[in-house]
């Protein structure tokens, strides 16, 4: 990114042992994330694992139009391309940002702290619409029946990927050294990094 940073990098690496490089990826602060183009959101065809009806509960005409074009197209390479380029599951900053957005966007309004209330529980091993990152991003952006609103246009793909990474850490899918620890609020049980890894199973009928 800048000439001097390269000089400092080579100097420090000469000092440090060539330890495993997993540390680098976990600690990346991706401040230079390229803005996802507004109309680019519409072109991200994310198909759900199971053909569900387009989200009905969209509260706003503009986003309904966007999500309808999204829902009926099949899964395409560009979705995983957008996500695959940066594996949010292995970046501590992304998972921590996801945890903050989970509170900011009021996901805990329906999903509580992961235990579920109106919305389904997220910390257990029951998954209706898939537990892989692209599938969770699709669930967030398209919305799901029985009340999950579509956030396409409202939440950028980058933020959705961060939220998906955090949701996965709730059930221990994220590595222990990447998962977030406790938050500075009332204690909601064991912090994510201390939860054992659940083996995700397909839940019952949608």
């Amino acid at each position: 990114m800048s000439r001097l940073r390269v000089v400092v990098g080579t100097l420090s690496i000469a000092l440090g042992a060539a330890a495993s490089m997993s540390g680098c990826e976990r600690e990346q602060r991706r401040f230079d994330a390229p803005p996802v183009s507004r109309d680019g959101l519409a072109s991200v065809q994310l198909g759900p694992t199971r053909a569900g009806p387009p989200a009905s509960g969209a509260s706003d005409p503009a986003s309904a139009a966007a999500s309808s074009t999204v829902a009926d197209a099949g899964p395409s390479a560009s979705a995983s391309a957008v996500l695959g380029a940066r594996n949010h599951d292995r970046n501590a900053f992304d998972v921590a940002q996801g945890k903050r957005l989970y509170r900011w966007f009021n996901c805990n309004g329906c999903h509580a702290a992961g235990g579920g209330s109106i919305g389904p529980a997220l910390m257990d091993d029951q998954w209706r619409y898939g537990h892989e990152p692209p599938q969770i991003v699709a669930t967030i952006l398209q919305g799901r029946p029985n009340g999950m609103p579509s956030f396409a246009g409202r939440i950028s793909t980058e933020q959705a990927a961060q939220l998906a990474a955090y949701v996965r850490s709730m059930s221990g899918q994220v590595r222990e050294d990447v998962a977030p620890s406790r938050s500075d609020g009332l204690s909601t049980g064991a912090p994510e990094l201390r939860r054992d890894r659940e083996t995700p199973k397909l839940a019952g009928t949608p």
């Binding site: 401040f31 994330a33 803005p35 996802v36 507004r38 706003d60 900011w104 950028s156």
Partner: protein, 340 residues
């Protein structure tokens, strides 16, 4: 030299739209508290400079007058056999003088403390200031709840009237410091602090977060404009009014774009559906001088650039970038700029 530097600074400030503030210099006191502190500052600098000069003179004189001797010169151990009344008397005298000076400085400090604590607080303005990671939100309290209003990053206060700030932090520790008005006070999560100001001279005073609070600690400025009372009342009335409803088609389209995009997830514009509190209140963003807590000047070009890619201007900020279609972007910028 200091006078010339300040003149140069002001000239520079006028030239650049960004830093439209006078240098936040603690010696340019604009309120009683900064004045009290400045007075103590000058007394202390005087005393300390005198002591420093005395010690240096004593040292240089000692080094100048003492005879020279090589490593082979015999060491004079007479001091171990019998006492040395001469040097003892001067050392005891010097230590005594130092102790008396320190005591006097202590008394000066305590009297200044009392003076700061006794600022008259009759008919004060009450502001609840909350610090977030890298911007300030301020709520002007009022006995009538309907007259309360919220703004961000820029405060206006009437000249001559005291201001009582209740300080809270929502995430990490920050510290509010406006050198020309008063000393700093930390905003600590889980604790509430109070700070009192009074500006006796009209002007815009730059404040800054003074406690390291993360990636963008450098761009967390706050500007305090001390206005004559009538000009303040006009500003406050304007802030209390709901956001301007768009009149012509471009700003109406801009509002549609605003409500359809991710802005509503974090920002609040009174009078519309957007009511989130995680970002600065945009109801009157058009009337502010800078964007992003002092990082960018508030004009069309910078606003458009900021919306498209905030990370380029303030890397690490929590605002996501959204690349609108060019005409959508123009409409959105026009709408936001219209929110006077």
């Amino acid at each position: 030299m200091k006078r010339r530097c300040r003149a140069l600074a002001i000239a520079l400030a006028a030239a650049l739209p960004l830093a439209a503030f006078a240098a936040p210099d603690m010696t340019d006191a604009a309120g009683p508290q900064a004045a009290h502190i400045l007075q103590l500052w000058r007394v202390t600098v005087l005393v300390c400079s005198a002591v420093f000069a005395a010690v240096l003179v004593a040292l240089l004189w000692a080094v100048w007058r003492a005879p020279r001797g090589g490593a082979d010169a015999p060491a004079d151990v007479s001091g171990l056999m019998h006492g040395e009344p001469g040097p003892r008397r001067s050392v005891v005298l010097a230590v005594g003088v130092s102790s008396v000076l320190l005591l006097s400085l202590l008394l000066a400090s305590v009297t200044t403390d009392r003076a700061l604590a006794h600022l008259v607080l009759r008919d004060a303005i009450h502001i609840e200031l909350t610090a977030h990671q890298w911007w300030w939100s301020a709520r002007y309290d009022d006995p009538q709840p309907s007259r309360m209003f919220t703004t961000a990053n820029e405060l206006h206060i009437p000249v001559g009237r005291p201001v009582i700030l209740t300080l809270n932090a929502s995430d990490v520790i920050h510290s509010l410091w406006v050198p020309q008005l008063a000393g700093k006070k930390d905003l600590i999560p889980g604790r509430s602090a109070t700070l009192t100001w009074r500006a006796d001279r009209a002007g815009t005073y730059r404040g800054q977060c003074a406690e390291f609070c993360g990636a963008q600690h450098a761009w967390m400025a706050l500007s305090v404009s001390a206005d004559p009372p009538d000009q303040y009342e006009a500003w406050a009335a304007q802030q209390r009014a709901a956001a301007a409803t768009p009149s012509e088609s471009r700003t109406l389209r801009g509002q549609q774009v605003f409500l359809g995009a991710s802005c509503v997830m974090c920002h609040n514009v009174s009078g519309t559906d957007a009511g989130a509190q995680h970002g600065p209140d945009l109801s009157h963003v058009g009337s502010r001088r800078t964007l992003a807590a002092g990082a960018l000047p508030n004009d069309d070009a910078h606003l458009a650039a900021w919306i498209t890619n905030p990370q380029a201007h303030k890397p690490g900020v929590n605002m996501p970038g959204t690349a609108f279609a060019p005409d959508d972007l123009q409409a959105l910028v026009a709408y936001l700029r219209s929110l006077r």
